[in-house]
């Protein structure tokens, strides 16, 4: 496979444009093998109340550390600015990184981010030195406000978390790409198939973050490989420049010299 060029994610230079979650795998071993197969260099992690029966998360933590990848902790499950900020602060100490995937959920039915609380939490965390990766909707104005607040990276949803519906509003995502040319854009959530990742990359997005599509596949490791190829294909297609779409057919084979040619 052609080697991908390096790209800048916050303060890191990495090769893979796939960011991958660590949840929902059939087993820890399959998680490890899937992450390796995906080629991803950024994995998302979370924090939860300590459960003494599960060795306090220590086994998982050692496993993740053994991968030696960049960690992106999240604030999943937070519904308020206060919860999100406190969770981010705990994550910074626990995972020793100032990166935070900021989630502030506004609706429990579709797990849609609360744009108002998200913006407020973003401002607070940036003032505290965090590199905020906000999980946001595909609302252009919200995205612009997040950039004004100091975000260098935005992560609009493709579709609600875990739905696998793909890019439900490509127009909105395309508009964000066109309006925010210098911002790192990552489609986060809703990706269900490698073709969705290709589509996101063809739009000029810098990366894709997903979890369920790989973790819940019948063969997660093989699906991780499929996504690795999809990311490369989508990025190469974007860099190559897609042909313009047309409504009218246009023959690809030259018409001059066609045998049995009949002039109409």
């Amino acid at each position: 496979m052609r080697k991908q060029t390096m790209w800048q994610l916050a303060d890191k230079e990495i090769e893979s444009r796939l960011l991958i979650g660590t949840a929902l795998y059939p087993s820890p071993e399959i998680m490890l093998e899937s992450i390796k197969a995906s080629g991803s260099q950024v994995v998302t992690v979370s924090l939860r109340r300590q459960n003494p029966m599960a060795s306090g998360g220590q086994d998982f933590w050692q496993m993740i550390q053994s991968l030696n990848l960049n960690l992106l902790p999240n604030t999943a499950g937070c519904h308020s600015v206060k919860e999100a900020v406190t969770t981010a602060q705990m994550a910074r100490e626990l995972f020793n990184t100032n990166w935070i995937k900021l989630e502030v959920i506004g609706d429990d039915y579709n797990l849609q981010p609360d744009p108002f609380a998200l913006l407020e939490a973003t401002k607070e965390l940036i003032s505290q030195g965090f590199e905020v990766f906000p999980y946001c909707t595909d609302d252009l104005v919200l995205c612009e406000k997040l950039v004004e607040a100091g975000c260098r990276i935005l992560m609009p949803w493709g579709a609600p978390i875990g739905t696998g519906k793909g890019l439900i509003n490509p127009y909105a995502l395309k508009t964000i790409r066109e309006r925010l040319k210098n911002v790192t854009l990552i489609v986060d959530a809703g990706i269900g198939a490698p073709s969705h990742a290709v589509e996101a990359m063809q739009l000029g997005y810098d990366g894709v973050l997903l979890n369920t599509a790989i973790a819940q596949a019948n063969d997660p490791e093989k699906m991780a490989t499929a996504f690795k190829h999809a990311m490369a294909a989508g990025r190469l297609a974007f860099e190559s420049g897609l042909m313009p779409e047309r409504d009218m057919a246009q023959p690809s084979t030259p018409t001059i010299g066609t045998p049995f040619w009949h002039q109409n």
Binding site: Y25, V45, R48, G56, I64, K82, A91, E93, T212
Partner: protein
């Protein structure tokens, strides 16, 4: 004996500060972070953080996430 709420569970405490409370319940290798009454407490502050009746302690560890 004062009682605090640890991860939603009512717990008796004999220790006076957070450092003593945690050292009695955590082994040296465990990875955790703490919030007290919804406010993050950095490790360096454990010794100076006194516990009182009704305090709510959140004790969190690394977990899988998406």
């Amino acid at each position: 004996m004062p009682q605090v709420i640890v991860n939603g569970q009512i717990t008796d405490v004999v220790e006076s500060n957070l450092a003593e409370f945690l050292s009695a319940r955590q082994n040296a290798q465990s990875s955790f972070a703490v919030a007290l009454n919804e406010t993050f407490v950095p490790k360096a502050e454990y010794q100076n953080t006194l516990l009182k009746e009704g305090d709510r302690i959140e004790l969190v560890s690394p977990m899988q996430g998406g």
